[in-house]
Structures are given as C-alpha cells and as structure tokens.
C-alpha cells in the first residue's frame, strides 16, 4: 500500500515539476469525474466565501410582502414563508454546511488518528481497550449517535460539530491502526529504532506521515457523510439552531406542507445538499484511485 501511494505521490511530484498547468491537464484527463467533483466543491467553497457579495438580501431578513414569493424577479429562487430570500439563505447556508462538515471531519480525524496510531503502534492492552471502544461506537448508527449526542449537548453550532465528529472516529481509527500495524514492521522504522530514536518520535515522525494518504481519502469521504448528517439533524429539528440558515433546516421548515404549495422551498435546499455531497464523493473517489487503489468504499 505504501509502495502504491508513493508511486502516486511521485507521479504528482513529477507533474508538479513539469508545471501546474500540465499536472492539472493530467488530472482532468485521467480523472474527469474527480475533476468535476473538485469543480463542484470549489464552486460551493466560493459560494460560502463570497456569500456577502453575491447576494442582495440578508439571509435572516424577513419581509411580509415577499412571503412565499415565487422564483424570479428580486428573489431568483423565491422566498420562504417569512419572506426570507432563498438564494441568500442557500449561499449563506453553504457556510454552515462547510463549517460543520470540515469542523466535524477534522475533529473526528484528529481523535481517530490519535487513537489509531496509539493502538496500532503500541498494541497491548491499550489496543484492546481502544478496539472494544470503537466496536461500541460503531454499533450505533451514525445518525442515532449524532441525534443522542446533539440532544444531550443541546443545540449550538459547536455541539453539532462535536456530535457529528464522534461517530466518525471509529472508521478513521480502524484504517490508521491497520496502516500503522503494517508500517511498524517496515525497514525504515527498524532503521530508526536501530539508530536509537525513541518510540514516540518514530511514531510521530516516521509512521504518522505515511498514513497521510489514506487519511486524505477517508477525510474526503467523511466530509460528505458529515454534511449529510448535519442536514438530517437539522431537518429533524435537532441540528443547527436559528438564526443560522442551514440547508437541512430549510427543508424541515418547508417540508411536507410546501410540497403542495411552494415546491421551490423543497427543491433548492435539497439540491444544494445533494450537489455538495455529490461533489465531495466524486472527489473522494478520484483521490482514492490516486493515493490508495486498494482502499475501498
């Protein structure tokens, strides 16, 4: 696995030397779907960053006259019951989705990597304990775990990030652990030990950097799940609280009743969630092919 990813990294490095534009062209040709995913993700990141400039209305400003306004005119994507502009809410909603997605994924990866590295490198009772703990976390479905944690912690942006990050930990910990187990036996680790490096330095300086490739692949996949779980939590009314515009909560407010009367309130937020997740999934698949062809799903 290390060999495969080193090969990939060398390819990329060689391309980088040949110039950024040719490496981009290579990526586009080799992984058209991944490129499409990267473009979607980039578009959503730009939407989040530029939300202040690309919208006219404040996403939380209500306007009785615009209540349930149809798409078109001043409100290109229509307005909700309280007359809030849908386009503004979707653009600013990208910030929430990305903040929760990136926040929960990073936190989950940091915890997962620490556990995986410790239990894989040092083994013994620590490993046994960590593995049983991961079993436990994995036995509860992602959404149920996040629901319970979010209910216990109370609704706030930080708590939602925490609630979503914990169920992401076991997958990361497992992958990092199995990688560490393999790396631990590698000649370069033995060499480091032979020259008298201490175990913690070896784990951090020689093993950890080599788990980076699978970690990037996993993190991209987890980002999609995190965005979906945030949407589901908010849809169920247990996610991001008012006044943040969250794509998931926009659907819960509009849900079944607007299916008849104001379909645009249902279509656009769902489209935004699906596109964001689809983009990260496409990108994740391409990254998996580049870095680690053997890591599946």
């Amino acid at each position: 696995m290390a060999v495969a990813h080193e090969g990939g990294a060398f390819d990329l490095a060689r391309n980088r030397a040949a110039g950024l534009s040719s490496s981009l062209a290579h990526f586009l040709r080799r992984y058209p779907l991944g490129a499409a995913g990267a473009a979607i993700v980039l578009a959503i990141v730009l939407m989040a960053l530029l939300a202040d400039w690309i919208t006219v209305f404040d996403p939380t400003a209500t306007d009785a006259h615009a209540s349930l306004a149809r798409p078109g005119g001043a409100h290109p994507l229509g307005a909700d019951f309280m007359g809030r502009d849908m386009w503004s809410r979707i653009a600013f909603g990208a910030r929430i989705s990305l903040a929760v997605g990136v926040g929960a994924t990073s936190l989950g990866c940091i915890i997962g990597v620490s556990i995986g590295l410790l239990s894989g490198y040092f083994g013994g009772w620590l490993d046994l304990l960590a593995q049983r703990f991961m079993d436990m976390l994995q036995a509860l479905p992602l959404l149920v775990m996040a629901l319970v944690m979010s209910a216990a912690l109370g609704p706030s942006l930080e708590n939602v990030i925490l609630a979503i990050s914990i169920p992401l930990v076991p997958t990361v910990a497992r992958v990092i652990r199995s990688n560490t187990l393999m790396l631990r036996e590698m000649p370069f680790v033995e060499a480091a030990r032979a020259v008298g490096m201490n175990e913690i330095s070896i784990a951090l300086r020689h093993v950890l950097p080599n788990t980076l490739a699978p970690l990037i692949v996993l993190a991209t996949a987890q980002l999609g799940s995190a965005i979906l779980v945030e949407a589901a939590l908010s849809f169920l009314g247990l996610g991001i609280p008012e006044p943040y515009p969250s794509w998931g909560r926009m659907l819960s407010e509009s849900a079944a009743e607007y299916v008849r009367t104001a379909p645009w309130l249902v279509i656009y937020p769902g489209l935004a969630i699906s596109l964001a997740v689809f983009g990260t999934n496409l990108l994740g698949d391409a990254l998996r092919d580049i870095f680690d062809p053997r890591l599946r799903l």
């Binding site: 036995a139 509860l140 992602l142 319970v148 849809f235 379909p263 969630i273």
Partner: protein
C-alpha cells in the same frame, strides 16, 4: 466453531454493556436533571409532583443503583413510562414495531434487488460506458439525503396523482399496506441500494481477479459461465456482510423517512421522544436499536463462518 461462537457472543455482550454505559452517561450530562426537563415538557406544576416524579424515576438513588435498576427493568421488558402520553412506553412502542419492521424489510428487499444485479453488471463490464454510468448513478444515490428523496416522491404524487399517501390509518389488507409502504421503502432503500451496488461491484471485481477465474477462462469456459457460475457464487459471500453494514446504515434512513411520510413507526417515535426530551424512553429505544444492529452483525458473522469453510476460527 463452538469456541468461536462463544467468543463472538461474549464480545457482543461486552459491546452492548459498553453501549449501555455510554448512553446512560451521555443522557446524564444533560444540563439539569431529567425530572426538571420532564417537568416542563409534561406541563406539571406543583413541587410535590416533581418530588414524586424524581422518586418514581429513582433520581434520588446513587448513580450505580440507577444504572442497575435500568438494566434490570429492560431485562423484564420494562421500557419506562412516556410522560407525554401518560402511558407505559412499551404500550406505545409495541404497536409501532410491525410498521417499522415491514418498512425495513421492504427497503432491504429493494436495495438488494436493485443493488446486487447492478453491482454485478458494473463489475463484469468494468471500465465500459455502462460501468461509468452505473458508478455515477450509485454515487449520486449515495449523495441524495433520503428525506429529500422522500419529499420529491411526495411532490411527484401531488403533481401526477393529485393525492399524498397517508399512513396514520392502516389499510385492512396486508397487500394494500405493503403496497403503500413500498413508496417510503423506495425512498429509504435507494441510498442503501447505492451502497449495496458499490460493495457488490468491488467484491465481484476482487473475485474476478482470482486465479481460479483465470483458470476457468483459460480452459475455455464461456464468459457467462465464468462470470455467473464461478465468480458470482464466490462473490455472494462478501455480499452477505453487506447486509450487516446495511443494517446500521438503514436505521438512519428509516428515521428520516418515517418523519417525512408521517409513518407511525418506532424510528419516528425516537425522534418524537428526543423532541419531547423524554430521556428515559430515548435511553431505552437507543438501547433497543443497538441490540438489533449488534445482533444482525452477529448473525451475519455466524452465517459467514458457516458458509465459508476458509475462515479460520482460531487466532
């Protein structure tokens, strides 16, 4: 085999014990005690009532005693009391189980019937246009939130049929009920089918790379015989584990789907209990879900061990 079975069984009990402690602790870091919350949620007023409630819930006892009481109660089938409807929780939960069970069975059926054949085709035709289309389709399936898919289905019903399926009243005949439930089952099952398809494809590709497949090709067996007789039969085993993975995956889908379609099932009851902040009921329901998921995984492991003689039980 027997030692393997016992070891797995012990591990399962250990996992469930851990989960029970985890849930128990998690629901006790809630700010304020459960009686306070129930007190507000159920609209009780007098202080005497609150004290009575605290005693009834055993909140005056030490935490370890509370835990033991809870587990003991669960073992006796005591699911607690829902303070919102003022009935024992079990009375609320039991009639909801068949609905959710039928919905889950239909969703699994949908995901397997759609996901397995498409996954096999995709693997057999690897790197063709068809494989590309199917892979993009499965990836988009995984990207759709099931609650949005449910809403879109409802929208299509409004648009083309002029009516919306209603689930609060159960149809008299089983077939009618199943037909009605197959609509939300498709919404919940589509994401699972995408997952099943991806897993089937990779499991099939793995098998197609094996030596015995090459041997079969070399001795001149027809592509159909190689693909379906040699490869698929061996790829079926990993597909069984997929059902285990799917079990946990599906629960999330059921929770949102029952909410969207307003189906009176167990999964929606969990959401309602959380909304009412009815924590004793939440605690029991989450435990119930954990038991089901862990048991399904255990059964899958057992089926796998029985069906695949290559698995070594010692180690």
């Amino acid at each position: 085999m027997a030692t393997y079975l016992i070891r797995r069984l012990l591990l399962m009990v250990l996992t469930l014990f851990g989960i029970s402690v985890l849930i128990f602790v998690l629901l006790r870091i809630v700010p304020g005690n459960i009686a306070d919350i129930l007190f507000d949620a159920a609209g009780m007023v007098s202080a005497a009532e609150k004290l009575k409630l605290e005693a009834e819930l055993g909140l005056d006892k030490p935490i370890v005693v509370q835990y033991v009481d809870w587990i003991g109660g669960l073992a006796r089938g005591d699911f607690g009391y829902t303070y919102v409807s003022e009935r024992p929780a079990l009375e609320e939960i039991l009639p909801r189980i068949p609905v959710t069970a039928k919905l889950a069975a239909l969703a699994v059926m949908f995901s397997v019937l759609l996901g397995v054949p498409l996954g096999v085709v995709s693997a057999v035709r690897q790197n063709t246009a068809l494989d590309y289309v199917l892979r993009v389709a499965s990836l988009s399936g995984l990207s759709l939130p099931s609650f949005w898919l449910g809403l879109l289905i409802l929208m299509a019903f409004v648009q083309y049929a002029g009516w919306i399926p209603i689930y609060t009243e159960k149809p008299a005949r089983l077939w009618d009920e199943l037909a009605l439930l197959s609509i939300p089952a498709a919404a919940a099952g589509l994401r699972s089918s995408a997952l099943v398809m991806r897993l089937t494809r990779s499991s099939m590709l793995e098998v197609l790379r094996q030596d015995y497949v090459r041997t079969a090709r070399a001795k001149g067996a027809s592509p159909a015989a190689v693909n379906y007789d040699h490869a698929l039969r061996n790829a079926m085993l990993p597909i069984i584990t997929i059902i285990g993975i799917e079990a946990a995956f599906l629960v999330g889908g059921l929770i949102v789907t029952e909410t969207v379609f307003n189906i009176p099932g167990v999964a929606r009851f969990l959401v309602e209990a959380i909304r009412w902040r009815d924590y004793p009921v939440v605690q029991n329901l989450v435990m119930f879900i954990a038991i089901i998921v862990v048991s399904v995984n255990f059964l899958v492991d057992m089926a796998y061990a029985v069906l695949d003689p290559r698995i070594r039980y010692e180690e």
